[in-house]
């Protein structure tokens, strides 16, 4: 009954907080709460629709950009960053070896190489993505974090103001290489964001992301 009472909202504060904690820690309880939310949801038709004053949206925008700045500040002290930098150092070494080759080829096509550290708060999943326009290839290095049993990681490309486009399920293993077609290549070179979501085996059944984002990041020129 605790799940039903929590959804109805009648409990005093302490019981409510206890129930909210259980939602976060006990998947079975969370499912029961969800079932009750579904059962009672039609009652919400009784709520009126009243447009909020414009100032509310402005205040939300201010809060979001403040959070964003805080996140960036926290970024410098984060473990993920140092792991990422360690990865970059390895990459830098690899690049140093590759430089003569790159310089040699400069005359034909401008070499566009970019890297992205894909990570997200609240997960330990991290990948390093290396984009090579010349080879029309995206390399992925698995840095940390395992996929859940019976779930796959799917890679998405997101252009500003557009729906995410799937780049396919990421094969299990420490590295993966994806060959890019010309349109995808152009979009990535133009600054699309990469994100990884947790999906059913074989990838999202709908063509749109259905699971939580476990890592994301944007490509930066090196």
């Amino acid at each position: 009954m605790a799940a039903a009472e929590y959804v109805l909202g009648v409990q005093p504060l302490d019981e409510r907080q206890q129930a909210a904690r259980r939602v976060d820690t006990e998947p079975d309880f969370a499912r029961l709460v969800d079932v009750w939310e579904v059962r009672l949801a039609p009652l919400a038709a009784g709520y009126p629709e009243i447009e909020a004053p414009f100032a509310v949206k402005q205040a939300i925008d201010r809060r979001l950009s403040r959070n964003d700045r805080k996140r960036r500040a926290g970024f410098w002290s984060s473990l993920v960053l140092w792991r990422g930098l360690a990865g970059m150092a390895v990459l830098g070494f690899a690049l140093a070896l590759a430089v003569p080759y790159v310089l040699e080829n400069r005359s034909q096509t401008p070499p566009v190489r970019m890297v992205a550290s894909l990570a997200a708060p609240g997960t330990d999943v991290q990948y390093l993505a290396m984009f090579d326009a010349q080879k029309a290839e995206l390399g992925l290095s698995h840095v940390s974090g395992e996929r859940e049993a019976n779930r796959d990681f799917e890679l998405w490309m997101i252009e500003p103001n557009k729906a995410p486009v799937s780049m396919g399920v990421i094969p299990v293993g420490s590295t993966a290489h994806m060959t890019l077609d010309q349109p995808t290549l152009a979009k990535l070179a133009g600054g699309a964001v990469l994100a990884i979501t947790l999906e059913p085996p074989g990838g999202s059944p709908t063509g749109d992301p259905t699971g939580p984002v476990v890592a994301s990041g944007d490509l930066r020129q090196i």
């Binding site: 039903a4 109805l8 009672l40 039609p42 038709a45 709520y47 939300i60 939580p212």
Partner: protein
């Protein structure tokens, strides 16, 4: 906007797409503000709560994927839970019920009930099977976020009686909905 459109906006919001978030806000702020106002009964507090609700939606949008709720119901649940947490944390309940709302009492009248008939049909029919005052208590708790204590006072019964009433009503409701 169709539920599928709203689903897409929530998913894109979970990928930190700010323009999707802005569209989601435009499409749903009126409903969610209605929820906050109805529960909190205070305009300034409801505006504050709505800000917090949308910040939550921005940070927790990925949780939508693991819920069986329709997209708008999921958003309403986020707003409702937040508003109820706020009102529970508040020491003294606001007395001037409905003055903060310059709209008519939005408890579903026949018109709205007709609109919500369809998927909501069953829960209303099941509520009708309960005794009238108990159905009113369930509806009041859901829409206004009333606590056991407030309901007990309004219905003039001891707190534990109100708990028993509501628990039994919820069990009956579940039985009816599962029939």
């Amino acid at each position: 906007m169709t539920p599928q459109d709203i689903t897409k906006l929530i998913v894109r919001t979970s990928l930190k797409d700010r323009s999707a978030f802005d569209q989601l806000y435009r499409a749903t702020n009126a409903k969610l503000f209605g929820v906050c106002l109805r529960v909190l009964n205070d305009r300034a507090e409801a505006e504050e709560a709505l800000q917090e609700v949308f910040v939550k939606i921005w940070t927790k949008a990925d949780r939508f994927a693991i819920s069986d709720l329709s997209p708008i119901s999921w958003l309403v649940a986020v707003a409702r839970n937040h508003a109820i947490d706020r009102i529970r944390a508040r020491r003294k309940p606001t007395v001037d019920i409905d003055t903060a709302l310059d709209v008519a009492d939005p408890t579903p009248g026949p018109e709205q009930q007709a609109v919500s008939a369809g998927e909501g049909d069953r829960v209303y029919r099941c509520l009708d099977e309960l005794e009238e005052d108990r159905a009113a208590a369930v509806r009041g708790a859901y829409l206004k976020g009333e606590s056991y204590a407030e309901l007990a006072e309004r219905h003039g019964v001891p707190l534990n009686t109100m708990r028993t009433w509501l628990r039994r009503s919820l069990i009956k409701l579940r039985e009816c909905l599962e029939r």
